[in-house]
């Protein structure tokens, strides 16, 4: 059963349309991300779900309840929506201790003292903050403040958890660590998460499913592998992971596949879009094989060692391509090689 359902959501600020006809649904223990560049409408969508923005049009359901419907005029205020939320800047109240911050939703609910104590300890325990309960936020690190915000969002046992770029203010190492921790927390509690981020690696790593947004619209919804290996359009292909875009021309078409030519080499690619003539070949860096002999002659321009793999920039004809190989496949800068395209996608020019 769906925990969140958004149907035909629209929101405009003055003349600019921030969110346009956005629809999606989140299952009961799903980690769902809205991914897109800044200004694509992902945060506005999340804020509409939270009730912090009033949608211009559309319907939002949380759990069983309609919390917003333009059609019937229902609009449940944020205060009464069964949600927990973590803000980008954590929004931990500086005048309250960790304990007071986390206890606040319970205090508002007028939970009895014994129950409050029990829930509070459990919430602090779950994010590992019991030790710091009497500290003030200014005595905490960014990561610890983050946990306070998380505990505060979870303590009222919401139906869904909304996370608005919660990791973007943390340093790289901590961010990586928090990714696993969030995921683990979600598995443990079984709470559905709506996660907003502009970091595609983060979205791919954590999500069960994700929606890629651009210019206020959802471009594609799918699991991370689906989106990575089968981007719906050139924008998604470019935004998710690394991609080489190469001009090419279609030589022959045969149903769902086509044969294209790129600098004398012929590559067979799936062509569900039925493209013809001049096209763009999209190739992942790891889908290119470098060898001493092969289809397209090329030359290694720059090599950079990334640890688990090696990142090459190679020149083939007039194009610079990015190629990634396992770190045991070593060539030198200036080597004259040949490349073979193993997998590719075709987009219209």
């Amino acid at each position: 059963m769906d925990k969140i359902r958004v149907v035909g959501l629209k929101k405009a600020f003055g003349a600019t349309v921030a969110v346009d006809e956005v629809s999606f649904a989140i299952g009961h223990d799903e980690f769902f991300s809205l991914l897109g560049p800044s200004g694509c409408g992902k945060s506005t969508t999340l804020r509409c779900v939270a009730g912090l923005e009033e949608p211009g049009q559309g319907e939002i359901l949380i759990g069983d309840a309609v919390v917003h419907s333009t059609r019937t005029g229902v609009s449940v205020p944020t205060e009464e929506r069964p949600i927990g939320m973590v803000f980008q800047n954590y929004a931990v109240w500086p005048h309250m201790t960790v304990r007071e911050n986390v206890a606040y939703p319970l205090k508002i609910k007028k939970v009895s003292t014994t129950l409050m104590k029990e829930k509070l300890e459990a919430a602090l325990e779950s994010v590992g903050l019991s030790r710091l309960a009497d500290r003030y936020p200014n005595q905490l690190s960014g990561g610890e403040q983050q946990r306070v915000a998380l505990a505060r969002a979870l303590v009222k046992e919401p139906e869904v958890l909304l996370l608005d770029e919660p990791l973007s203010n943390l340093d790289a190492k901590l961010r990586e660590h928090m990714r696993f921790e969030l995921k683990e927390l979600q598995r443990r509690s079984g709470i559905p998460i709506l996660y907003v981020t502009h970091d595609q690696a983060e979205a791919l790593a954590m999500s069960d499913r994700l929606a890629v947004m651009n210019a206020g619209r959802i471009v594609q919804i799918g699991t991370p592998p689906e989106i990575y290996s089968n981007p719906a359009d050139r924008f998604v292909a470019d935004f998710i992971g690394l991609m080489n875009f190469l001009p090419c021309s279609v030589i022959s078409r045969n149903g769902e596949t086509a044969v294209v030519e790129f600098h004398g080499a012929r590559v067979e690619v799936p062509n569900p879009g039925g493209h013809r003539g001049r096209c763009v070949l999209a190739v992942r860096p790891e889908a290119i094989r470098l060898a001493r002999a092969g289809a397209v002659p090329c030359r290694v321009e720059i090599r950079s060692f990334l640890g688990n793999l090696i990142d090459y920039r190679v020149r083939a004809g007039g194009e610079i391509l990015r190629v990634q190989t396992p770190s045991h496949v070593v060539f030198d800068e200036g080597d004259e090689l040949a490349l073979t395209i193993e997998r590719a996608m075709l987009f219209g020019d």
Binding site: S23, A25, P77, M85, F87
Partner: protein
Amino acid sequence: MAYGWKQRTIRYKPYTISQLRRILDLRYLLASACAIFLLVLVVYPLWQVFYRSFLPKGVFSLQYYEKVFTHPTYYRALFNSIWVSSATAILCMGLGTVLAFLLMRTNLPYKERLRALVALPYAVPSFFSAIAWIQLLGPQGYLTRFIVNLLGWESAPWNIYSAGGIIFVLTAHYFVLVFITVAGALGRMDASLEEAARASGAGTLRIMRSVTLPLVLPAILAGGLLAFIGAIANFGIPALLGMRARFFVLTTSIYYALAIPDFPLATALSGMLVSVALFFLAFQFWLQKGEGRYTVIGGKSVHPAELQIRSGRIALFTGTVVFIALISIVPIASMFLTAVLKYWGAPLAPQSFTLEHFVYIVNLDTSRRAIVNSFVLAAAAATVTMLAGTLISYVHVKLKLKGSRVLDFIATIPYAVPHTVIAIAAILAWSRPPVSLYGTLWIILAAYLAIYIPFAVRTTHSTLQQIDNSLEEAARVSGARLLPRLRDVILPLCRPGMIAGWILVFMPALRELTISILLYAHGTETIGVVVYNLQDAGYREVAAALACIVIVMLIAGSTVIKKLTGGVSGV
């Protein structure tokens, strides 16, 4: 749509209309409460002044304005107000600009310490300045006798009780406004403009004249207008120095008209005063808006080149120090000296010193009552205006309700209205049935609330803007409705700003004169009223003793504010 789902019957659990209304109403209820507060305390009284000046007997008539323009006593007052304030403004512009240049852009030593001292006269209430300058330059004043003896004159060739005396004391009080605006503009000016002129081969003095001065001209003018507006609205100085010589300006004429009492005349005079003040205030706003075009003065703080004074540096420094000491420290010193001398003008010998004036003032029923009254009034005014100001700012800054700008605007109106007029407005609004408060502390409080609400709104405005929206949104997500989140999140976060703002209202209210002198009755005297009346009745030493007590309290309060705001504001 790429993603689809099974159609199923959506089980609506709609919120009832009444629930929605309850949620909505709370916001509008808060806005309405703010609106009513402002309507009652600001709009209604001021409307009374306007309305009564045109409709003295229920019929439209310009007869009182006619009276102002045909009766020499009154048109002279209007004329006096304008020329005295203009002269003051011009002197302030000269003095303030020269001092700002000297203390910002030259190589004089101890510039920072001197800058702090320059602002001191403005921290002392203006009628205290008048009292101090009477002690110094009056017929038997300390400085008068010193100079007369030194030069072997028969008597001093000046008279402090005159238009000249008024202009002198007004200038000594208000030049600070020009100094602050010009010093600010000089501090914010982009050094590269001067460097460009230097690169073109211009000498420092020439750069100052042809580049720097034209660039800070708008600031000089803006400061001058502030000084004009302050001078024309001032009551204490022309009252203590002018009325004895029967030299009247608008504010003192209003006081006089109320003593007759001739309300319609007082309202017509108030109308004139407001018109003149508003005209110049609008001009000043326009100038400040225009400053945006001078993008050269903005943002970055840099340290532009200093004018290197070589010959005469010591002389210039000495002159500046003597001048600043004369204008900042000597009046306060004179006040303390008068308070501890047996009588004003006693020879400076050990047996002349006494604390009896302090003992007298502390035991005087009127002054004890006045101290209690002033504390109660100031505390009440500060508390109510800060709370109301926070709520008004909250409606505007955070709730962003439609029309909340209007609330903000109305709350700033009293800033443009001279206090004399606010007092007249309070009399007209609150001294007749159904609400007759005349002779009580309530009417003074009502007027105080009107004059201090602009400060409260302005300070809380910036405090609230510094509170990130997400802090309140987090409270909403936690389930807190409007009132709980005001109580638990917004107000506690505003507290430091509110406390600083509270003191900023409390301190001027504690020493307030203009409103209370027009509204007090037996039993509702304030400290200002008692000091004024004692001085006016010739008890200079006792007046000085009470004034000294107030000055000590003001300095203490100012120190607290500096601590609280990290030295950003403070009087």
